[in-house]
């Protein structure tokens, strides 16, 4: 199975964590919260677009009109393919980190 780029992986993870509340603004904020960095919109949406085109992520509009411009908000969820990918990535990541003593105390985390 292929790897995703790091930002794509982070996006998948954020959408998964947000469950039913994953839309543009929350996804970006989640990524910013988890990574602790301000992200440019372009750095978020180009990979998100790729994820969607490759079938890892599905989108659906909300029933009611949104806050800005009155258009319905678009929510994102993982497709089965996306979940499968995320599970694979979790396995690999855990395996990579297994047995590694914590580096945070010595080198700092942020």
């Amino acid at each position: 199975m292929n790897f995703l780029s790091r930002i794509e992986e982070t996006l998948l993870l954020s959408i998964w964590k947000l469950r039913d509340n994953a839309y543009g603004i929350t996804i970006r904020e989640q990524v910013e919260k988890d990574t602790g960095i301000r992200w440019l919109s372009g750095a978020i949406y180009a990979p998100l677009n790729r994820l969607k085109k490759n079938g890892y992520v599905a989108s659906r509009p909300a029933k009611e009109a949104g806050e800005y411009g009155g258009r319905p908000r678009i929510y994102y969820t993982l497709t089965p393919r996306g979940k499968e990918k995320l599970a694979f990535l979790q396995t690999v990541t855990c395996a990579l980190w297994a047995g590694v003593p914590s580096l945070r105390d010595e080198f700092g985390g942020k």
Binding site: L40, G42, Y45, N49, R50, Y68, G69, R71, P72, I74
Partner: protein, 868 residues
């Protein structure tokens, strides 16, 4: 809400790149961030950040979509190559046509670009101006426009006007013998220049200090190549060169060779004041003009406003000096540095300038070439829709949508244009040396080393591909599958009409180029054969450089004349074909309003005879009239007419130096300058001691011997100078260099456009023949003769060629008429030229079409009728 004002353009871009839902997401987030910004920083900053954020959001999406497009395009490119292989002959024709057109476009653009670039490399180019002088006539028509100005002008301008930051003067000293030890070199041009030169112009120094280099009166500054010429790779600074009869100069600086796109190129520079000491002339004399004046305007200075103040300025300075009489009013004007090369055509230009008319003409020709090449492609591609139609039909039946087909045909065109560009780059690289010789420039073309050029080439390739492929892609992809699969196509009146129009356009351009070439040839022939009023043949010209030659001229003349092969020897200040120095015609007691500008030349007793200048009234200078020695004039008929002199013989004139004498004869008018200019008033004054040229009339059958004799005589009197000579007819021809060059370029253009047009026609004819195979077969079976079939096929195209002639003629007439206006004396446009051009185009078209038509006509009907 504020957000109700969505920017449609931006949203439009977004929708091009992503689907509606993704677009909504992005817009929502951007709006959200904007509203946060607004409450924190205010609406103005929020709007700005919003725009920036939009851009950085769209860019990565854009990159993604390009990458994706490239992946999809691979298949189309593969298809394109398969198609090329399948239709080899057609593809080859198309490739050659496009490549030839592109090559012509590239070559001409290189030349045009180079001509535009003249003098623009100076850092201050926009603020540098040349001051030039017009002298209007008191009572005669026509003013004299000169590039040279009085010596004190430059310092006075700096003193008087705060907007003039700096000014410099040049005098060009021709043919100076410079010695380094025992080695002598004849420098064609030595510049005498002010130290300010290097403040104004960007001439980087390799050695020495540009600020102080010219301060020392015995300094000399050399270009890099000249320094190498004299000193090899030794250190040149501080070395001594001698020039001007033994004066020593110390090398004070070496500067980088000036680029070829400069309207003057300096190699040797000496201080301006020093030169004036050598010629014992004063730098404060407002009456003598031979300095070029350049000034640097203050940043933000207004040249137009400045120019207006020059009249009053001149009154203040010039009227007080002694040598300026008259109503012959002098005015000064400014020429922007970068415009001199293309627009200035004055007396005493520093070098032969080009003409912006030619440059514009060439630019349009270059664009036309590109269009012709594209048209050819379109033409052939649409003509081929018969064959490709079946392919399109099948593709559509199995589910291709039109967009895919358009993309496929565009890819094909792009691949073709890329290949053609590669071929044309090779053609340009191969042709450039010859082209450089033709135009006498040193153009370079190296896309590998010049990223900008490389990008330009890619841009042109893309344009050619999309433009030439666009129409065929739309037309072919629109074919209806049922119709094409049943075999009904290509006969549509629209397609045919378009193709015919394209043929007409191409041949019109070809015919115009031919007419221009022919007219230019005629005019050059006319120049060559015109009776200019003096003899041009069997005259050897020597330039009198050494003082020894001037001192011993009588002995030299006697020595030369004693040889049987030499008919006569004359000396003169200027040669009769280019009398470009002028003064004001004055005589004792003349009123300012009677005076008029007049050209002059100083000659000896033999000048008029040697050049066969006819005397229509009075007599030539003669040794039998001792009074001639003290001052005698010959004037031309135009001078008599301009002065309104009823009886010119015996009238007095004052030479510009103050010498007064009588007019002894009237010369028949001759062309004292090139045929571009009208004949102007002229006097020649007897002054055997003042000359720069020795003219020697020889017998044509003994040229080598005669030259040997001349050489031995000259080296006896000026041993240091290398012996150089020219023939007068060559000197004469040099005045028409620009036209000769233009004619050569247009000849080339005509040739190329014929080739390209014929390639197109050839392709069309072969397809027409192919499409009508069945028809031809049936006609033959029914008894049509080969000749009839041939006529049927050929007529189809040739009538359009004839129509092109009719369209091209008026355009060609206007262009050539305008061009001929450059000459005061020119040929009359004759109908013959136009008919001949059409005939040439017609013959070539006939030959092109014939090969295909004959083949079709001779084919056995049995073969053509069973081809299914």
């Amino acid at each position: 809400m504020a957000e109700r004002k969505p920017d449609f353009m931006r949203t439009g871009i977004l929708f091009k790149l992503v689907d509606t839902e993704m677009a909504s997401t992005i817009r929502e987030d951007l709006a959200h961030q904007r509203s946060l910004d607004r409450s924190e920083k205010g609406p103005a900053i929020a709007a700005l950040r919003h725009s920036l954020r939009f851009i950085v959001t769209v860019l990565p999406l854009f990159m993604d979509s390009i990458l994706e497009g490239l992946k999809m395009g691979q298949n189309d490119i593969k298809m394109a190559f398969r198609n090329f292989r399948k239709y080899k002959e057609y593809s080859f024709l198309n490739l050659i046509g496009l490549a030839a057109g592109l090559a012509a476009f590239l070559l001409i653009s290189l030349y045009v670009q180079y001509e535009w670039s003249f003098d623009k490399y100076h850092e201050n180019a926009a603020r540098i101006f040349r001051v030039v002088r017009d002298k209007s006539a008191g009572n005669a028509a026509g003013s004299i426009k000169s590039a040279v100005t009085p010596a004190p002008l430059a310092p006075a301008l700096v003193k008087e006007f705060p907007e003039v930051v700096s000014a410099t003067r040049f005098v060009i000293v021709p043919r100076v013998l410079v010695a380094q030890g025992n080695e002598h070199f004849l420098e064609q041009e030595v510049f005498a220049a002010d130290p300010q030169t290097f403040d104004i112009f960007s001439i980087p120094f390799l050695k020495g200090d540009p600020r102080t280099a010219l301060q020392d009166p015995s300094a000399i500054i050399l270009s890099e190549r000249t320094a190498v010429k004299y000193f090899g790779h030794d250190e040149p600074i501080g070395r001594v060169l001698t020039a001007f009869d033994g004066s020593a100069f110390k090398v004070a600086g070496v500067f980088k060779n000036m680029p070829g796109n400069s309207h003057f190129i300096m190699d040797v520079i000496i201080p301006y004041e020093t030169y004036f000491k050598f010629i014992r002339s004063s730098t404060t004399n407002w009456g003598s003009n031979f300095s070029y004046t350049y000034l640097l305007m203050r940043t933000g200075g207004n040249p137009q406003a400045f120019e207006k103040k020059l009249d009053a300025f001149l009154d203040k300075y010039m009227d007080t000096s002694q040598n300026v009489p008259s109503s012959a009013k002098t005015t000064l004007s400014l020429q922007p540095l970068s415009k001199i090369h293309l627009t200035s055509h004055r007396d005493r230009e520093m070098a032969a300038n080009n003409d912006i008319v030619y440059i514009l003409l060439f630019s349009s020709v270059a664009v036309l070439f590109l269009l012709i090449a594209c048209i050819n492609y379109m033409n052939l591609a649409t003509a081929r829709s018969a064959r490709r139609g079946r392919e399109v039909g099948i593709r559509k039946v199995v589910g291709a949508v039109r967009g895919q087909l358009i993309k496929q045909f565009l890819s094909e065109a792009l691949v073709m244009s890329t290949l053609a560009m590669m071929v044309s780059v090779i053609i340009v690289l191969l042709a450039l040396p010859a082209f450089n010789r033709l135009i006498e420039r040193h153009l370079t073309f190296n896309p590998a080393a010049d990223p900008l050029l490389f990008i330009e080439l890619i841009g042109i390739t893309a344009f050619v591909g999309l433009f030439s492929g666009g129409y065929p892609a739309l037309a072919i992809s629109a074919l209806r599958p049922i119709a094409v699969l049943k075999g009904v196509f290509a006969k549509s009146a629209k397609g045919l009409a378009l193709r015919n129009i394209l043929v007409v356009v191409q041949f019109s351009i070809t015919i115009i180029a031919l007419v221009i070439t022919f007219v230019a040839r005629n005019q050059m022939q006319f120049v060559k054969n015109r009776d200019v009023g003096y003899d041009r043949n069997q005259i050897v010209i020597l330039e009198a450089d050494a003082r020894a030659v001037v001192r011993n001229i009588q002995a030299i003349k006697t020595a030369l004349r004693s040889y049987a092969g030499i008919v006569s020897v004359a000396t003169s200040h200027l040669l009769p074909n280019n009398i470009n120095e002028h003064t004001t015609a004055r005589w004792p007691g003349s009123q300012p309003e009677e005076q008029f500008p007049i050209y002059y030349n100083m000659v000896d007793y033999d000048f008029a005879d040697l050049y066969g200048i006819k005397i229509v009234q009075g007599r030539n200078f003669s040794r039998e009239f001792p009074s001639d020695e003290k001052g005698a004039f010959l004037v031309n008929e135009t001078a008599v007419k301009t002065g309104g002199w009823a009886s010119p013989i015996g009238r007095e004139l004052i030479h510009w130096e103050g010498k007064t004498g009588k007019i002894v004869g009237v010369m028949k008018d001759f062309h004292l300058r090139s045929l571009h200019q009208p004949i102007a008033p002229l006097y020649i004054v007897l002054d055997p001691g003042r000359f720069s040229y020795i003219s020697i009339k020889i017998q044509s059958d003994r040229i080598p011997e005669v030259l040997k004799v001349i050489k031995s005589v000259m080296t006896k009197y000026s041993p240091a100078y290398p012996f150089e000579y020219t023939f007068f007819d060559d000197v004469f021809a040099r005045a028409y260099q620009t036209e000769q060059r233009m004619m050569a370029i247009f000849g080339m253009i005509a040739l190329l456009s014929v080739i390209v047009a014929c390639l197109g026609l050839f392709g069309l004819a072969s397809f027409a023949a192919e499409q009508r195979t069945k028809e031809i077969g049936i006609r033959k079976v029914l008894g049509a003769s080969n000749a009839k079939i041939f006529a049927l096929l050929a007529r189809e195209f040739l009538k359009w060629v004839l129509l092109s002639g009719v369209i091209a003629w008026p355009a060609a007439y206007l262009i050539t008429q305008k061009w001929l206006q450059n000459f005061s004396y020119h040929v009359r446009l004759s109908a013959g030229v136009f008919v001949a051009s059409l005939a040439v185009a017609f013959m070539i078209a006939l030959m092109t079409v014939s090969s295909q038509s004959i083949k079709a006509a001779l084919a056995k009907p049995i073969n053509s009728l069973k081809y299914e």
